[in-house]
Amino acid sequence: MSWRRTLVIAIPMLWLGIFFLAPFFVLGRISLAEAIIARPPFTPLFDRAPDGTLEIIASLENYRFLFQDALYRNAYLSSIRIALVSTIFALLIGYPIAYYIARAPEPKRSILLLMVILPFWTSFLLRVYAWMGFLRTNGVINNTLMSLGVIDAPLRMMHTDLAVYIGIVYTYLPFMILPLYANLTKLDGALLEAASDLGASPVVTFFTVTLPLSLPGIVAGSMLVFIPAIGEYVIPALLGGPDTLMIGRVLWDEFFSSRDWPVASAVAIVMLFLVVAPIMWLQSVQNRREMD
């Protein structure tokens, strides 16, 4: 009995160990090294000193560098800002959609749900390219607006923060909708009737019953959008402008342009903690709510 249980637990543990914990330690170890022109391009952890003793070469110099250089600080802040704004917009757009799907009668509901998931069946890169076709100076949106006479000169939409927001919200919207939908289908219609029966208008019912009960769905959906958005590289690289600063891009530049693996590793580690911190905070909030 006991060895079987161990076996069941061992599989996920092994997976996490090999593919998460080990790389994390490798990354942590590189972030403590120093960049050199060699292969691999960082100093070894252990080295023989001239007097023959073994020494450990590790320093927090890279982290100090990160916090001193305004570039990194701004990249982090701007990543958080872009991810946060995108998450809020995804929530504002996704909530009504999820609500509508959850309330739809059966054949319609499945079709709507399919339409939310369907874009995943085409390549993500292709879909971002499609947005370029819409947003560029000679693109679909500008041409339509100009032919309708709404605008005289094309709007500059490509290579702006706006394009990045559109790209992120569009790409991650299903991740917001699906957990919200899963939550909202469980909402008992009798509760809404009870609220209305007790004198709550539809708006008051939404804010006192529907919204608080869908909070777990909001948290789950927001996390699924916020976390990948903060480290997003492809969307800002394709749709963003030269001044769209995101940490994913900085990371790319450090690794591949500067070939400064130790600094890049430090950037990655700091980002990890930036993402983990809000999750832990939210989880503790939710635990406390459940304790009440």
Binding site: D188, A190, E193, S196, D197, L198, G199, D292
Partner: protein
């Protein structure tokens, strides 16, 4: 019905000039092709505890939901306290509802659930919670005010739901199977408590139930529903003693039904011929013609079982006890007649002198003419 004169203020439905508190006129509700409620007329008076009784799918819940405002009638009108409810949404109606599932807000404590309706009226928070506490004392839940609904038992949840629906002192309280989820013993206790609360607060109650015992115990009047139609409205005794149709007779309590033909109508007695019982003497009834097919309905307790042939009884048959069930306060019998008919009879166990009639005994079974209720549909 002959009976002692009853003051019209306790039984206003007997007074034709009384103003109904709720008046439902020609209400029909269709869902697509399905007619859930069909042309219902119903008057309910202030302070009544009215039961809508019927099997699931008979339209009783739909009627209740139309009173609450969750459904709009396809045709007809509903007036509550003289006001037409056609364009009044649920949140503006003078009604509150106790839901079958209780529909307690799971994210709120008991006291927040109860205070919810008061806060929506714009009542000050401290006043609302004070009133909620008072209501919780009434349903004996004051100690559990800070609990969440999922930390309560079924019976406790039922009380919270009741407190929440009564705290606003609605003119009309709608209860959808209020005791359905409780076990038998708790249900019986709660029935009388419900009556007590209703009398104390003077709120008009409309209860939807499929449980005939519950309806008989609770109601001032019962409306028996079938296929979207109200078959009969009456006091529990009327419904039981003088059912209007075979459906009502069969639905409320146990009944023996005998099909027959009117043979001869004398001024003081009417003879009907039945295949099961032969010729039966019943009290005459207006509007019947010779040769008309009718059904005689007899409640089991109206039969008398004796070992000797009873004297002066026009309706008496000899039969054999096929089955017997001892309930305690009474015994139930199934007596097989030579015609093959099986009669369900019950005898009170008040007297214990004689050895009780038992299985396979030959008995005489008799019934007075007045015990036959003649039904034409």
């Amino acid at each position: 019905m002959d009976g002692p004169a009853i003051a019209a203020d306790t039984k206003p439905w007997r007074d034709p000039s009384a103003n109904p508190f709720i008046s439902v006129r020609g209400v029909t509700k269709r869902f697509g092709d399905f007619t859930a409620v069909s042309n219902v007329d119903l008057d309910i008076f202030k302070g009544e505890l009215f039961c809508l009784l019927g099997e699931s799918g008979c339209g009783k819940s739909t009627l209740l939901r139309m009173l609450a405002g969750f459904e709009q009638p396809t045709e007809g009108s509903i007036r509550i306290d003289g006001e037409d409810m056609a364009r009044v949404p649920p949140d503006r109606r003078p009604t509150n509802m106790m839901f079958q599932s209780y529909a307690l807000f799971p994210h709120m404590t008991v006291e927040k659930n109860v205070a919810y309706g008061l806060l929506r009226e714009g009542m000050k928070k401290s006043d609302a919670y004070a009133k909620a506490a008072e209501m919780l004392r009434m349903v004996k839940l004051e100690k559990l005010a800070r609990r969440k609904p999922d930390q309560l038992s079924g019976g406790q949840r039922q009380r919270v739901a009741l407190a929440r629906s009564l705290v606003k002192r609605p003119k009309l309280l709608l209860l959808d199977e209020p005791l359905g989820a409780l076990d038998k013993k708790l249900r019986e206790e709660t029935q009388f408590e419900l009556i007590k609360i209703q009398e104390t607060l003077g709120v008009t109650f409309i209860v939807v139930t499929h449980d005939q015992d519950e309806a008989m115990t609770l109601a001032t009047r019962i409306g028996v529903m079938k296929d979207g139609i109200i078959e009969q409205i009456g006091e529990p005794r009327e419904i039981y003693e003088t059912p209007r149709s075979r459906f009502v007779a069969d639905f409320i309590g146990t009944v023996n039904l005998f099909e027959g033909v009117v043979e001869a109508a004398a001024p003081d007695m009417m003879r009907i011929a039945t295949p099961d019982l032969g010729d039966v003497m019943v009290l005459p009834q207006e509007g019947l013609t010779r040769g008309q097919t009718i059904w005689g309905a007899v409640r089991p307790e109206r039969f008398a079982l004796t070992r000797k042939r009873p004297e002066d009884m026009p309706n008496a048959w000899e039969g054999v006890v096929e089955e017997m069930g001892y309930i305690g306060h009474m015994s139930q019998y199934r007596v097989r007649l030579p015609s093959g008919a099986l009669i369900r009879a019950s005898q009170s166990n008040r007297l214990r002198e004689e050895a009780p009639i038992s299985w396979d005994e030959k008995v005489w079974i008799s019934v007075p003419p007045a015990a036959f209720r003649v039904l034409t549909e």
